[in-house]
Symmetry: D2
Subunit: 382 residues, 4 copies
């Protein structure tokens, strides 16, 4: 595909994800971590306008200079930003205004990409595509949060299937101790946090061929796992108590049965399916209860070709830290990853709401250990 | 007008107020005191459905039983309610759904009011009309807050004019000490909090013929009024410091000039106009700085025919308390006023966003002393 | 008694109250409203040093200029103050230092009062004595809070008896409607908030001869009073739910019996005694449950000679507001009362921890409606 | 030394540290992370009573069963605990009571250790000694916080010297890439978190021979380092803004000069001395501003014999995570370290307030990245 075709494809997919939304769904921000869908639509557009059009198209006229203020996310280099928790209080610009903005920028981008443009730009375009794909996943998880916390539990005609049955007889895949190479090592795009391929020494380990199922996890609940502090980090157990956590996110115990919110509305939990929507704290407590542990991100990367990828992001024991030799890119683009490298945990793999072709074995996703609105599950190691 | 005609008129006016809204504007709740416009639309409808149709129309079928949960405000008798601060997180029911609900209830109400219905109902209808008029005023103040706190400062085609010039040579109207009668004393509707007409003894007093202007108040600002604790209640001065208050709500000092957000967008403050959007704390501090005081609600009521009503609600020194012999109505309707009779201040008069015919000399409005998104001003007494 | 003798007496009583304290008890501040005893000791001393010695004794040398910062309470005129919630974090000055300071100021005061001093000072001395008496009551309530919230429930050799049996057959004392005079009207000292004796018109009313007993209140608890929102102010019911209130302060339900913390340690609740340690919200809800109400402060003052004073402060329905013609004194002394006249409720009478001779029929005590660490009870009216 | 002699020595040192304290200093808890000194005194005693005496001495009589509740820290296995933030509200047990408790336990311990006791106990005794040494360091840092945040800035006759001049011409010590062994590898005691000696592969690196000085850091301040978000983690920059951080803890800019609180009271900052009292966020931002980075804990351990230990704990880039094969001990002792292995950063080395003989090259200290009341500094790597 040409860059022009890829631009059109990635931008279209974002709009396809949002097509079933009501206008009202675009506006709300029920918690700080969940952004209003209209903000995602505007922010991904602002990315191309700010970093491509304003830098590479002579005479480009900004659509609306106020939008810089509204759709900036965390790029402090570029100017003041709307405080993140305030995004859900902004009724203007309207959804129509934002799609007009999107159309305007798309036209300018298509014109640019149809021209004989400077090929130095290609690297930035790759980043823009991957950035938009990340927001596609966030759009799906944020939409699920917005609808799944509405007392009417409305269904959503999402492009993804959420039910993934699982091999119930897990096997253990064993690896010898030794020096392994970790980090991106291929053609094409990767994020800066995967770079600096380097050697690590890994002791002998075993990793489960398959992920933990809902059935497995219900045993943990029934055994009083949420009440037994011995399996929890101190901060995890405080979180359990302060937030009155008794089950994965979206689960409700109704008339003696576990139900959960899905894009089909409220549904019985299928015990054969892969567990979903748990925090690192829960993943770690479950592993401790089983007398095992979570894999490190290095173990996972080494094993990634010999295990069944599970359609859920997999919490690892590893903290999100720079690889040796990590360098921030200069300028605003350099704010992309490095500034988040504290207090977060690495997740590996991908989920059913990850954009096609977006993940790879060296991909490092990261979230704070208490968060669970992403599609997250557990793989055991020992 | 018949009750049917009045029903149609009052319901239409609510929709007229909202007509210029974008769908997105209906959804947001930037602070706890401001409700999303769609909630007002649904809640006023829920009132007629719950208290009239479900009680008085045999075989009436509820539009959607979930709405009871969503649109209940504070009527704890009637069932669980959506936590007030969560209203802005609900994208569903959509605005269209709510207008469908409104239409459905309106049809049933019109059918009922066209029939030979039980005239006992009339008292409840009066309450419903007055309740809806109260929400019309809240709709306008909430819309102003939603748009006035948006960084784009969008104009709004509101039905009201906000500029009210004022007589700059105030006179003092003097009243003798004596026993006066206070409370509702007429035909027609009043709220329960106005009832129990009773005698009060009032010492001699003087009250200003006109309200305080922007010009007057700017003098207070220039004189350092916000920095001088001697004029403030202790809690008022804490509020000033903690909220960094330096001027009335919606005022911005831009390029050496006071601007304020109005329904025409950001405009220069007109110094001849009546002051607007101040808290009780500010009103009281201003009066103290002038060596005067605010009137009590009794003084105001006695003087109400001899002073110029100012198109702003007027803060009084009086706390919101029951009149002697105050009785709550039985059932949910009884929750209307009595439960708020602590920690609030009485405001008298009316404002330009008060619905026509809604106020009267005995009318008791009330808000917490730090709030200022209502149309509020100052009249001095001594 | 001469002023010198009175000075010595009032200062000695403060020290007598504190005599059984351990050094550690002087230091802590478990909640913002409760001050460390050492702060009371220093603050009452600071009052005489700042307003008397530094103004009236030529050549007086301040004990330690830093103490001005540490022991100022709310007198913003006089300089920066230690944030109120930080008082419990200050280990220095030590208790010994503060008693040294107290001795130093006492010596200077006694020298002054033994001399031929300017009699204009007498009014200020009266205020200082009454100010110290107020802090004597706060010392006792704060000490009770500090020990009563300690898991060891230590006893305290307090000078007061807390058990007050009550007449179980209450009578109703009836008063005609009419104009009554309210406010201080005598010889001697009163606070500025009692001044401006003025006429009020009071409708006919009846007031109970005796206060509510523990037995009465336990009936309310058993009847589910804390769960029935119909009897509560909206803010009161929120307080009940958010603070999980199920009984008066210091009550614990242990092995099927109500116990409460007293200066003798944890003791069974004596059902014949006067109810103690309740908030205005609870008082009002109890009255509503009985189908009655609380008296206004004017009714209470009119009835004060015909009812049994109950050794508890009595919550009234009245908000704490200025009397007609209320004037603040000039300077720092003027901050004494006026700045608190918002969001608080008037209490009348006195309690067993009130200093002897400190109260009178026109005395206006005041606290926020949710507070209950003072000795507070209920008298009904109708 | 015999175990008996070691017991007496370590217990005595705790008391020596506290000897200059006033009784009041033992009581306060100005922030949640700082415990009242009397709690440290009681908690270290409780440790020996609970884990040694109650388990190994037949017929041992507990001093006071309530103390179990008061002096438990985080050992959830052993029973309910006082919420950590409430420690500073407890005036009882008094300091005298606690020293009586200490004496009682010391007597029983000395009796036990003088007897022919079971040598299985020795491992637990070692843990108890090291546990007490950790609290000795916390005592000193907590005392400094309590006095350093008092507006009187009192001096403290501490056993440690805080001024450490530094070699201003730092050199770079270079290490080849390769496999290194990490973790405890010796005789004697270590904590569970150091165990599981294991191989790691480390790329080539250089590490500074000496730590960063106050002079170095003042350059960063002058260059606007605290205002330039590019050098900060996103959470670090939020911390800087929300807490208005402009310099290391205890620094005050007075009359054009940097002063800081020390155990000698407020003193000028000595520019030749090693920097102290900074957070991980500040350490990382400083390194970024220099175009360098912090070492990992593995690099530090490898280099530990070739660099000058600096008398400050050194923040590393490493997150606090379990070593391969980490196992919690069974029972309450197992809560010691593992439960804290999330969201914290490893510090290596030791400080002047570390107990003699307490640290070693494999020692892993850990704190949250925003904390700075410990004695913490910076060593650069690249």
């Amino acid at each position: 595909m040409t860059f022009l075709e890829r631009y059109k494809t990635v931008r279209q997919r974002t709009e396809d994800i949002c097509a079933p939304l009501e206008t009202e769904d675009y506006v709300v921000q029920p918690v700080a971590d969940v952004s209003p869908p209209k903000w995602h639509i505007g922010h991904t557009t602002w990315f191309f306008e700010t970093f491509v059009l304003k830098s590479y198209v002579e005479g480009y006229e900004e659509f609306n200079s106020d939008y810089n203020y509204v759709f900036n996310s965390y790029y402090e280099t570029v100017g003041a930003r709307v405080i993140r928790t305030d995004r859900g209080n902004l009724s203007r610009p309207t959804v129509k205004d934002i799609f007009r903005y999107r159309k305007y920028v798309d036209n300018a981008m298509c014109e640019l990409l149809s021209s004989n443009y400077n090929e130095d730009l290609n690297e930035l375009l790759e980043l823009g595509f991957n950035h938009e794909e990340q927001h596609q996943e966030l759009l799906l998880t944020d939409i699920k949060y917005i609808l799944g916390n509405n007392p009417l539990f409305p269904a959503y005609n999402s492009p993804v299937s959420e039910h993934h049955p699982i091999n119930s007889t897990k096997e253990w895949v064993r690896f010898d101790e030794g020096i392994y190479e970790i980090g991106f090592n291929g053609q094409g795009f990767c994020f800066d946090n995967e770079l600096g391929r380097h050697k690590v020494f890994i002791p002998e380990f075993s990793i489960a061929s398959d992920m933990v199922s809902n059935r497995d996890y219900i045993e943990f609940i029934k055994a009083g796992g949420y009440q037994d502090f011995r399996h929890w980090h101190a901060e995890g157990f405080d979180w359990v108590k302060n937030s009155s956590v008794v089950a994965p996110m979206y689960w409700h115990f109704i008339d003696g049965e576990w139900m959960h919110y899905t894009f089909q509305g409220l549904q019985p939990v299928n015990t054969d399916a892969i567990l979903n929507h748990i925090s690192f704290y829960e993943a770690s407590a479950y592993a401790s209860w089983k007398g095992m542990r979570l894999p490190t991100e290095f173990e996972w990367e080494v094993a990634s070709n010999k295990i069944t990828w599970g359609s859920r992001w997999e919490w690892t024991e590893s903290a999100y830290l720079p690889y040796p030799g990590f360098k921030k890119a200069p300028g605003a683009i350099g704010e992309y990853n490095g500034k988040f490298m504290v207090n977060q945990k690495v997740l590996r793999g991908s989920s059913e709401v990850t954009s096609p072709g977006h993940s790879r074995t060296s991909y490092r996703n990261f979230f704070h250990p208490h968060l669970r609105w992403q599609y997250t599950g557990i793989r055991l190691a020992q």
